[in-house]
């Protein structure tokens, strides 16, 4: 499948160099695009296909009082630059306050910009999310953003291919985020560097598009440029009828193309890995990269049992204030963050709500629930989830990247512990000195109502 999509988009191969790859859809946001537009200006060139680029503001935007002017002058300046560049070059722009505004990797699929078999790039490493649709989607740097604006192409060596197969029935309380964190814990944070991943097996086949997006989103956290899942009826049902999806005859033609996107039975991969889905527990991370995760009931491993240098491992545990051999269950939690391009979709809020229903937020825990888009926000209200959340002592913020990377005011204070459904637990990622434990929305919910790291399986009998 990967080869089919890649080869379809190769404009030319350069002897002793990369392929020139045509990009169908290009997403941009305020942080990684301004210097690319400056480059265009200094070269005096236009955007070749403005209709193939879509702009949304998300990284810097506040998640409360979005109707007010953005207070931080630097953030405001960056947001203004995205708006003026989009206008100048004829690019559709979904800025703050626009109904379609939201996290780029949430709104792209929601409006049908993401299509099976497409090549999709964005100046953001979590562009891998869109691979859930059988697209080749990956993050690029700003120089490459400029290339795509100028020529709709980038220069890429074709990556190696890895297939990760997970079969078996997932246990109670185990949801797509746990599957992703489990795979990364087995591969380490660099185990898939140089590869593009295809996920296969009934665990992924049985997932909703939201779940598949969570898994593909995290591909970059094991070093892979991207991950993809073959499109099936679930994919087609999701894509059909969305605003930017093909219509009429174009839809029939597109559908015929989507149906060719299967992995041949005799397809050869550079690396094949297989895991047993029934062995996966609810996961949590204890260190400072996403590969440092484990089943929530386990103890923090000894340096001797982890790959990599002991000095780096010790530095990581010191930052977290943890020690080898400790239980994670029972550790104090100061903040809970549910949101981001990893877990800011409706299913994530359904999962969170299913566990907190009829219970109450723990004292002393600050909980930020941040939907990925206005569509997600509306769904939360329409499905009655907001009423349940309000009853349990929670409130909802407005869409944006928020505390995932803490570019706006949503920062975890130094030394504080956060259970976060986002994608990175790097030092200072959620604010200088912040200590992040990555987990699923269910584990986040369990922490939000108990104030400590808690196995969600112990809280209710029938989980989603």
């Amino acid at each position: 499948m990967f080869d089919k999509v890649w080869d379809t988009h190769v404009v030319r191969k350069i002897e002793g160099g990369p392929d020139v790859l045509f990009i169908d859809r290009h997403l941009i946001h305020e942080v990684t695009s301004p210097v690319a537009f400056l480059g265009l200006k200094s070269r005096g060139i236009r955007v070749l296909y403005p209709e193939r680029t879509f702009a949304t503001a998300d990284h810097n935007t506040p998640t409360i009082n979005q109707h007010l002017p953005v207070a931080d002058p630097l953030s405001a300046n960056q947001l203004r630059a995205l708006e003026s560049n989009s206008k100048e070059y004829g690019i559709s722009y979904w800025g703050l306050g626009h109904q379609k505004n939201g996290i780029v990797h949430v709104v792209g699929p929601e409006y049908g910009i993401t299509q099976p078999g497409a090549t999709i790039v964005c100046g953001d490493s979590h562009t891998s999310t869109h691979g859930a649709f059988g697209a080749i989607a990956f993050g690029i740097g700003t120089s490459e953003v400029e290339m795509v604006l100028a020529t709709q192409c980038i220069m890429q060596p074709k990556p190696k291919k890895m297939r990760i197969t997970v079969n078996g029935k997932l246990g109670r309380g185990v949801i797509p985020k746990d599957v992703a964190l489990y795979i990364i814990s087995r591969l380490t944070t660099s185990g898939a560097t140089g590869y593009f991943v295809e996920y296969a097996g009934d665990v992924f086949e049985n997932m909703s598009m939201e779940g598949r997006m969570t898994v593909c989103n995290m591909s970059i956290e094991m070093g892979a440029r991207g991950g993809m899942i073959a499109p099936d009826e679930t994919t087609i049902n999701y894509v059909k009828g969305r605003e930017f999806s093909p219509k009429g005859e174009a839809w029939d033609k597109a559908l015929a193309y989507y149906r060719t996107l299967k992995t041949d039975p005799d397809a050869v991969f550079d690396k094949e890995l297989t895991f047993d889905g029934s062995a996966i527990e609810p996961m949590i991370t204890y260190g400072t990269n996403p590969g440092m995760g484990m089943g929530i009931s386990h103890d923090i491993p000894d340096a001797a049992h982890v790959e990599g240098g002991a000095a780096t491992y010790e530095k990581s545990l010191n930052y977290m204030g943890f020690s080898e051999g400790e239980h994670m269950i029972g550790k104090k939690v100061d903040f809970v963050f549910v949101g981001s391009c990893t877990n800011g979709r409706i299913e994530d809020f359904r999962a969170f709500t299913s566990l907190v229903k009829g219970k109450h937020k723990a004292d002393g825990v600050t909980v930020w629930l941040v939907p990925g888009s206005h569509i997600v926000e509306s769904q939360i209200k329409e499905e009655g989830l907001l009423d349940i959340l309000t009853e349990a002592g929670f409130s909802l913020r407005q869409p944006g990247c928020s505390a995932c990377l803490a570019m706006n005011d949503d920062k975890i204070p130094a030394g504080k512990y956060a259970v976060s459904t986002s994608n990175r637990n790097f030092e200072g990622r959620q604010g200088p000195g912040a200590r992040t434990m990555l987990a699923s929305p269910l584990v986040a919910a369990a922490a939000a109502i108990t104030g400590v790291v808690t196995d969600p399986r112990t809280l209710i009998e029938e989980l989603v």
């Binding site: 030319r12 002793g16 020139v20 210097v35 020529t151």
Partner: protein, 198 residues
């Protein structure tokens, strides 16, 4: 944007023997708010380099006056995480022209190549020997020879070859970039686009 030509670089180096150095460490997100490519070097490794009150952390390599040079030597899996090219800009703006590691994350490596910072991947054993040599004598010079694709520890004469695609090598040596190339095949791109399945 065309950048400096790279040929042979002979310089002392700054050692950073830490694994999995992610781009959030190289430049934290709160310093990504500029709309121009200026001043990122000041915030290179900000939170490892400075305390919360902006005083320098004395034990960090960039604050140790014995270490200096245009080459940064990092641990395994250097540049993982976010795609922010600002990380490569910060490395460049600080004054480095070459980063050496036993393993690079893909996007960071690409970003470096696109702005004229040469990523040199060496074997784990050679990486250890470089760290040992620099830490024993911070005046140890490394020679990075792009035409020959070699890196040499000048004090011991130990040398190793490194990989780079002929296309990127040519770009680095001549200060060309990909947009120059892509612009030259624009008609071919437009013809290709007219025949796509989507």
């Amino acid at each position: 944007m065309a950048y400096d030509k790279f040929n042979i670089l002979r310089s002392t180096a700054v050692p950073l023997p830490i694994e999995n150095v992610d781009t959030d460490q190289i430049i934290p997100a709160r310093f990504l708010k500029a709309t121009e490519r200026i001043g990122f070097g000041d915030n290179l490794f900000r939170d490892w380099r400075y305390n919360a009150d902006n005083t320098p952390k004395k034990d960090f390599a960039l604050n140790n006056s014995v270490y200096d040079g245009k080459i940064l030597v990092g641990g395994k899996n250097f540049g993982s995480g976010s795609s922010r090219e600002h990380a490569a800009w910060a490395v460049y703006d600080y004054g480095f022209r070459c980063v050496v590691s036993s393993f690079f994350a893909d996007i960071f490596k690409n970003n470096c190549l696109n702005i004229g910072v040469l990523p040199v991947q060496v074997s784990p054993g050679f990486s250890e020997r470089i760290f040992t040599a620099i830490i024993a004598d911070p005046k140890t010079e490394l020679e990075v020879n792009l035409p020959d694709q070699t890196i040499t520890i000048l004090s011991t004469g130990e040398t190793e070859t490194f990989e780079i695609s002929p296309y990127k090598k040519d770009n680095m040596m001549n200060g060309f970039d990909d947009i120059d190339y892509l612009q030259s095949i624009k008609t071919e791109i437009q013809e290709f686009a007219a025949n796509l399945p989507l």
